[in-house]
C-alpha cells in the first residue's frame, strides 16, 4: 500500500500543513465575531445601486459610531458591525446609512445585538464543548478498541486518533485566520459547530480503518507483519473513505454555493475541515500506528 510505503512523505505533508496553519494563526489571528465579543450587526439594503463602502463607513463614523465595520452583503446591501447599541442608536445608524443617498430607500433586513456577558458566556461554552467532544471521542475510541492490544496497545490507537483530531482542528483554524484576513470572515458559533462536526466525520473515517485493522488482527491475517496488515486494511477501506467523504463534500459544497448566506462560511469551513479530516484518517492516523509499532520494535531489540 503506497500510503504506508511513503508514510514519511504523507506525515511530513501533514506537519507542513499544520505548521502553515499555526503560522497563519500567529500572523493573522482569529477575528472573533460579535457572538463572542458582544456588539451589534445591522444589515441594510439599498433600493438601487449601493453607495461605496467608504462613503457609508464615513457616514456611520460621522454619526458617532467609531470603530465600526462596514461590509458589502449581497448585491444591494451592507452589514454594519459596531458596539452594542440601544434601539434609538440603531435607528440612528439606519438613518446615517440612508443619509448617504437620499434618492434611495434603505430598509433594515436584519439586526442582531449581543451583550458582552452573552458573548463571554458563549466563548466559555465553545471552549468547554470542544474539550468535552475531544474527551468523549478519546474515551469512545479507547472503549471501542479495548480488546485490541497486539501488537500495539489499545491506547496507542487513541493517541493516533488524538493527533489526527488536533491536526483536523488546527488546519481549519489556520485556514479561517487566512479567510478572516483577506475576506473579513469572523469566528461565530457556527464556526465552532463546523469544527466539531469535522471532528465527528473525521473520527468516523478513522474508526472505519481502525475497525478493519482490528478485524484483521483478530482474524486470518493476524500473522502478517503489522505495516503490511495496516496497508492491507487501508487499501480495503480506501475507496469507501474517499467515496463517503466525496458524497458529504458534495452536499457541503452545494450548501456553500447554493445555500443561505448565513451558513456559507460554515459550509466553507466544513468543506476545508472535511478535506483535511479525510486526509488525516487515511494518510496520517494509520501511518502513525505503523510508526509507533516500529518505535516499539526498536526498543525491544
Amino acid at each position: 500500500m503506497f500510503v504506508i510505503r511513503f508514510k514519511k512523505f504523507f506525515i511530513g505533508l501533514s506537519i507542513f500543513f499544520v505548521l502553515a496553519a499555526i503560522a497563519s494563526f500567529a500572523i493573522f489571528k482569529l477575528p472573533l465575531g460579535i457572538d463572542f465579543t458582544g456588539g451589534s450587526a445591522l444589515d441594510v439594503e439599498y433600493s438601487g445601486a449601493r453607495p461605496t463602502t467608504a462613503v457609508v463607513s464615513a457616514a456611520i463614523e460621522h454619526a458617532g459610531f467609531t470603530n465600526s465595520l462596514v461590509q458589502p452583503v449581497g448585491e444591494h446591501g451592507y452589514m454594519i458591525q459596531t458596539r452594542e447599541v440601544s434601539d434609538t442608536e440603531r435607528a440612528v445608524i439606519v438613518a446615517a446609512a440612508a443619509s448617504v443617498d437620499p434618492k434611495q430607500t434603505v430598509t433594515q433586513t436584519s439586526f442582531t445585538s449581543i451583550g458582552p456577558s452573552v458573548g463571554k458566556e458563549l466563548k466559555s461554552k465553545s471552549i468547554a464543548s470542544i474539550i468535552l467532544v475531544l474527551i468523549a471521542i478519546i474515551l469512545f475510541v479507547a472503549y471501542a478498541f479495548r480488546k485490541v492490544s497486539q501488537p500495539i496497545s489499545s491506547w496507542k490507537y487513541g493517541i493516533a486518533v488524538i493527533i489526527a483530531l488536533v491536526h483536523d482542528i488546527i488546519i481549519p483554524v489556520g485556514a479561517f485566520a487566512l479567510l478572516g484576513h483577506f475576506y473579513g470572515a469572523q469566528v461565530d458559533t457556527l464556526f465552532i459547530v463546523a469544527l466539531l462536526t469535522t471532528l465527528g466525520l473525521s473520527v468516523s473515517d478513522t474508526i472505519v480503518v481502525f475497525d478493519r485493522i482490528r478485524e484483521h488482527l483478530n482474524g486470518s491475517k493476524a500473522k502478517m507483519p503489522f505495516p503490511e496488515l495496516v496497508g492491507e486494511s487501508l487499501s480495503e477501506t480506501f475507496v469507501r473513505s474517499i467515496n463517503t467523504s466525496f458524497v458529504v463534500l458534495v452536499m457541503v459544497i452545494a450548501l456553500a454555493i447554493f445555500g443561505p448566506d448565513t451558513t456559507r462560511l460554515f459550509a466553507i469551513t466544513l468543506a476545508i475541515g472535511m478535506f483535511f479530516g479525510t486526509y488525516s484518517s487515511i494518510f496520517l492516523a494509520s501511518p502513525l500506528l505503523v510508526v509507533m509499532e516500529g518505535a516499539q520494535d526498536k526498543k525491544k531489540k
Binding site: 472505519v208 458534495v250 443561505p260
Partner: protein, 447 residues
C-alpha cells in the same frame, strides 16, 4: 421472495404517499388533515424578532427564583399575546451548562420586525416593588472632589412584596381634591405580607418603587390588614390611568434588562429558506447521480433508500415538530451525505467479498453483516457530538444538533433496513457480463 417483494412494494408506496403529503402540505390550500402540520420555521427563515432579557434576581432568595422567573414569563407572555403576535414563544432559560447563575427570558416574536415596537411593548411591563427603610442606612460620604455622595438606593431595602402579589389595580379620585389615586389590591398572600410590613414599620416610611424609581413614600400610620394600598404620587389623571392599565396587565416580580436582540426581515428569511431548499435539492441530485454511476443497481436502491430517508425525516420534522433554522437545514443537508455512508460501506464490503470469489448475492448479504460494526462505531462518534452540541445551549446550535443527530439516527436505521429490503426483493442477478456489471461498483476493478 414474494413476501419480500410485497413488503418492499408496501414500503415504497408508503414512502410515495408520505412524500406527496409532505409536498402537498407546503402548497397553497392543503387538505384539512395536512394543514395542521406546516414546517415550523425558525425566526431566521420566517422573519421576526428574538429578544433575550436578563432578570436581576439578586434581591430575592434562591428558593424564590424559579417561581419569580415563572411569573415573569407569564406576565410577558400575557402582554405579548395581548399585542396580537401569532405564536410567540416565551421561555425561561436558567443557568445551564456554562451559563453560570444567569436567569434569562427568551422571547420569540414571529412576524414582528419592528424591534422598537416590540421592545417598547415589553419594556412597558412595570416592575413594582415595596421597600422599607434600612436598619443601617448608608452614611453620606464626601468624595475627593468635595462633593457629597448619598446612595439613595442604599437607604431602602426590598421587602419581598412586589408586583407578583397584585390582584387588581383601580383608579379612584380623592374626595375633595379630586387627585387621582392608584389603588392596589393584593392577593391573600400579598395581603399577609403587606400586613406584616406595615405592622413592623409603624411610624416609618414604606417606599413604593416603580421601575426602580420611588413614586410614593408614605409614612405608615397603622397596620393595614385589608390588603389594599394607595399610591397618590401627584399623578395627572392620564398618567394614573396608564399606570393602572399597565399594572393590571401584570407587574414583574424582578427587574429585567434587555441583553440581546435579533431581527430578521421577512424577505431575507424567505431567501434563506429558498436557498436552503435549493442546496438540498442540488446536493441530492449530484449524490444520486454519483451513486447511480458508481454503484449501478445497488446504487439505484441506495438512491431510493435515500429518498425514503429524506421523506421520513421531513415527516418527522413536521410531526415532532422540529423548528427549522438555516443552521438546522445545514444539519439536514449534511445528514443526507452521511446517510449514504452506511450504504457505501456495505457496497464496498460486498465488492471485496465478491473479489474473494463469492457470488453477487452472497457477497451482498455478507456486506450487510460484516459492515455493521464499522457503521455502528463510525456513527456513534457523530451522535456523541450531536448530543454535546445540543446541550451547548444557544438555539442556533441546538437547531443544527437536532437535525444532524436525528438525521444520523434515522439514516442508521433507514439506510440499512430499507436498502437490504429492496436488494433482497430484486431478482437474483444472473452470472452474465451485464448482470455482473450492474451489481458491481467502480470501473477499474469490475471483473
Amino acid at each position: 421472495m414474494l413476501k419480500r417483494r410485497i413488503i418492499a412494494l408496501v414500503v415504497l408506496v408508503v414512502g410515495i404517499v408520505l412524500g406527496y403529503a409532505v409536498i402537498r402540505s407546503e402548497q397553497p390550500n392543503p387538505p384539512a388533515i395536512l394543514a395542521h402540520h406546516p414546517f415550523a420555521l425558525g425566526l431566521d427563515l420566517s422573519g421576526g424578532t428574538h429578544l433575550v432579557y436578563e432578570a436581576d434576581v439578586s434581591q430575592i432568595s434562591a428558593g424564590d427564583i424559579d417561581t419569580s422567573m415563572e411569573s415573569v414569563r407569564e406576565v410577558i407572555e400575557r402582554r405579548v399575546n395581548s399585542f396580537g403576535v401569532s405564536e410567540p414563544v416565551v421561555q425561561v432559560q436558567s443557568g445551564g451548562f456554562g451559563a453560570g447563575n444567569s436567569h434569562r427570558l427568551s422571547i420569540e416574536l414571529p412576524g414582528v420586525t419592528d424591534i422598537e415596537k416590540a421592545v417598547a411593548l415589553i419594556g412597558q411591563t412595570p416592575y413594582l416593588e415595596f421597600k422599607v427603610q434600612s436598619d443601617s442606612p448608608q452614611q453620606a460620604t464626601v468624595g475627593a472632589d468635595g462633593k457629597v455622595n448619598i446612595d439613595v438606593t442604599g437607604q431602602f431595602v426590598s421587602t419581598g412584596l412586589n408586583g407578583k402579589y397584585l390582584q387588581q389595580t383601580r383608579l379612584v379620585f380623592a374626595q375633595g381634591s379630586q387627585e387621582p389615586i392608584v389603588e392596589l389590591h393584593f392577593n391573600d398572600e400579598g395581603a399577609k405580607l403587606f400586613a406584616q410590613i406595615t405592622k413592623d414599620n409603624v411610624g416609618k416610611v414604606v417606599a413604593i418603587y416603580l421601575d426602580g424609581q420611588v413614586i410614593s413614600a408614605p409614612v405608615v400610620r397603622d397596620t393595614i390588614t385589608t390588603g389594599t394600598a394607595e399610591i397618590s404620587g401627584g399623578f395627572t389623571p392620564e398618567e394614573a390611568r396608564a399606570l393602572v392599565a399597565s399594572l393590571n396587565s401584570g407587574a414583574l416580580p424582578v427587574p429585567i434588562k434587555l441583553i440581546s436582540t435579533e431581527t430578521v426581515g421577512p424577505s431575507l428569511g424567505a431567501q434563506a429558506a429558498h436557498a436552503g431548499v435549493n442546496a438540498a435539492l442540488i446536493g441530492f441530485g449530484l449524490v444520486a447521480l454519483f451513486l447511480l454511476v458508481w454503484y449501478r443497481i445497488p446504487g439505484l436502491v441506495a438512491v431510493i433508500a435515500l429518498g425514503l430517508y429524506v421523506v421520513i425525516t421531513l415527516t418527522l420534522y413536521k410531526l415532532i415538530p422540529v423548528t427549522l433554522s438555516a443552521a438546522g437545514i445545514a444539519g439536514f443537508i449534511i445528514s443526507i451525505g452521511m446517510a449514504v455512508d452506511a450504504n457505501i460501506l456495505i457496497f464496498e464490503r460486498a465488492r471485496e467479498e465478491r473479489l474473494r470469489g463469492k457470488s453477487v448475492s452472497e457477497a451482498l448479504s455478507a456486506g450487510f453483516t460484516r459492515a455493521w460494526t464499522s457503521i455502528r462505531d463510525a456513527n456513534t462518534a457523530s451522535i456523541i457530538i450531536a448530543v454535546i452540541l445540543f446541550f451547548f445551549g444557544s438555539s442556533l446550535i441546538k437547531g443544527f444538533a437536532l437535525t444532524f443527530g436525528l438525521g444520523v439516527i434515522i439514516s442508521l436505521l433507514s439506510a440499512i433496513t430499507i436498502t437490504r429490503l429492496f436488494l433482497r426483493a430484486l431478482p437474483t442477478p444472473t452470472a452474465s457480463k451485464a448482470g455482473k456489471f450492474l451489481f458491481s461498483s467502480g470501473f477499474t476493478n469490475s471483473k
